[in-house]
Symmetry: C2
């Protein structure tokens, strides 16, 4: 069992052991936020045929060669074609077909002239200027050509992607199976917020914040509730969770105290412990273990520590299981504003807000940094990565940070 390893080694150790789930086909209605499981090619052109971008008349450009001369040219309107219908006649020299926006260009026509640019009398139109062949004509395949690769494996399905797939007639899309994440909290002191608080107890927040983090990420959280600090009960609940889900996240019981039973419970079920303890503050006593080709990530029970280590270690894992190509959080640099008066013998992640001002990144602390403080996470979009051995932080100093939210919100 490895212990006190670097965060980067911990991330690599777990990322190496997970893969995207199986493929399934789902309806476009359910596809938002899912990840494409195989390269998708267009089976159709989009648009499927040459069409008119406006309401007008389809005709042959060469008929308008002399239209600039007094009297212009006169053409016989032989049909009208609306969007959704097809012309029954061809355009030949001397004729035109009235055409609506989106209607297919009739055979023989090579240009469309706008309504407003002709005079119509009875079944005839008069045109007073020369037209260029190809004007006002949308070509088949202008957006997507049949056979073109439209979505690569690993593509996150966003609204325009879903629109594009619809436009080429893809109603069911191959995606990776939805990831199910088990969340359970250990601790005799925990009660659910829906229960009455008894002396010595605290409300369990981890289950709720991590559940919400899963929903934000687009995966399905499955709650396995609160387990007492008891090795057998913990082992049993983890076993259940492994059977029903793809990855198990626990909180609490990972330190070296008399009642920290998670490591023992993992040994008891025969899990292979990948590591215990990562060299970072907060959240150091994290455990990663493997059993039946599934991972168990056991986080600290301190709310901020659980939240931060979930973002740094569990989120990349879950993203890989979703099938996303890019998993690790973005690193950014910024100028520190304010002061942090503690030294950092150990590597430390500080809750902070990165914001833009006059086209530069600045970063400031969002409040108290203790393990249990949730308030400083509310407006936190980045974690300052303070290297081991650093002194105090002072204004103006360049720092490195990992992005856990969006800079845009604070710019």
């Amino acid at each position: 069992m490895k212990t006190n390893i670097f965060l980067e080694e911990a991330q690599a150790l777990v990322l190496d052991r997970v893969y995207p789930g199986q493929e399934c086909y789902i309806s476009l209605d359910d596809a938002m936020g899912r990840v494409v499981s195989q390269d998708v090619q267009a089976g159709e052109n989009s648009p499927p045929f040459d069409k008119s971008p406006l309401d007008g008349y389809a005709l042959q450009a060469k008929d308008t060669e002399n239209a600039g001369q007094p009297g212009g040219v006169k053409l016989h309107v032989i049909e009208e074609v609306r969007a959704g219908y097809t012309p029954t006649k061809k355009v030949t020299s001397g004729t035109a077909i009235k055409i609506m926006t989106g209607a297919p260009l009739p055979e023989g026509a090579d240009v469309v002239v706008k309504y407003e640019d002709v005079d119509r009398t009875g079944d005839y139109i008069k045109i007073g200027h020369t037209l260029q062949a190809g004007s006002n004509r949308i070509h088949a395949g202008e957006d997507i050509v049949k056979g073109e690769a439209v979505a690569a494996k690993g593509t996150l399905l966003t609204p325009p992607f879903i629109g594009l797939l619809a436009s080429i007639g893809i109603a069911d899309v191959p995606v990776f199976k939805e990831v199910k994440v088990a969340i359970l909290s250990t601790g005799d002191e925990l009660v659910d917020p829906a229960q009455e608080l008894q002396p010595g107890k605290i409300f369990n927040s981890n289950l709720h914040s991590l559940r919400a983090s899963c929903l934000k990420l687009g995966v399905q959280p499955v709650s396995f509730g609160i387990v007492p600090d008891n090795e057998a009960a913990t082992a049993e609940r983890i076993t259940e969770a492994l059977q029903e889900t793809d990855i198990v996240i626990t909180t609490g019981g990972v330190s070296a105290g008399d009642y920290d039973v998670v490591l023992d419970a993992l040994h008891k079920i025969g899990a292979n412990i990948l590591f215990w303890k990562v060299d970072m503050k907060p959240g150091s006593p994290i455990i990663a273990a493997e059993k039946d080709n599934k991972l168990i990530i056991a986080l600290s029970g301190n709310p901020a520590a659980a939240f931060i280590t979930f973002d740094l270690i569990a989120v990349p894992l879950v993203k890989k299981m979703m099938g996303l190509g890019s998993q690790l959080p973005l690193k950014v640099s910024a100028t520190f504003v304010g002061h942090f008066d503690k030294e950092s013998p150990q590597r430390r992640f500080l809750r902070a807000q990165i914001y833009r001002q006059s086209d530069k990144n600045y970063i400031k602390l969002t409040g108290k940094q203790s393990n249990g403080i949730l308030k400083s996470l509310l407006s936190c979009n980045a974690l300052i990565d303070v290297p081991a051995g650093s002194g105090r932080l002072i204004s103006g100093q360049k720092v490195s940070a990992v992005l856990i939210g969006s800079i845009d919100e604070y710019s």
Copy 2:
């Protein structure tokens, strides 16, 4: 009826007419992405009592005054208290209580000393150094003080907010009612991607991309399908949609052609037309109307035009209905890279990608800009706002843009 108005006037006209929905209480499990409907105050301290941040012994600091002298001081361990339980005894001079991480500090104790820092023999511990009162002690209310405002009306519920509400025992949270958005597409030429494509027809993408946009925004889309270009049928379907949802979005049939029936259908049902046509490209022929205190926003049927005007006009509206305080898209400036060779007699929004390089914003076009092109929306996170009367765009020029995605992805 106003016509050819500025985008900003159009946004203001519709925003003035919508309000957040009614309040309801929902479980924290369902609260992710919802918006708080009233200021929430903490009914409890978090943590609820003074507790220990580590495994150790709770005692009186003054007992260690002479601990630095040879032999240190010896204290009698009179009890053990685990997290989740309460001490039954008080700490008095000469005694200590063994305490686990998270357990309540016993009465009489004012400091906790770590396990590793004492020698224990039988029921006695020996301490070899002086301790400061208050060390290693988490105070009740360190994160949240009872009575403190924890979430203001209009707060978007994110994972840390949900964790924080859980930590103070709020299991049900007051939020604005979920917004239901009706989406319907008009057009004889449209078939759903699940159907067979017939000659002259195209696949309808708008319903699918706008449905996904609603899901991304956190509101509930309700599909009212495809309606033919028929005034009575359109009027009937809009009426149905108004009854079942909070806002109706339509696509198609908004130009001035012979078969553009949406404006007539809106007149037929007695809707008050707020405006028709906004001075912008693409998507100019947008209609906003009001009926029974609900809004109908009728967008162009061209896929890119529908998508862009949805983002610029419908999204701010829907955000206000969700209860969010900030509704309009962010404006950013950036240096243009590339070239756009058309002049812009009319105000124009160009699909573009804004990205960061050496701490500066740059922006480039994402592809073809025609009304019907969806492909250039795939990697688009911003729309360049080209003022009416502008010439061609050239590299190095400063441009203004509205953000419709995140810059972070491309930095």
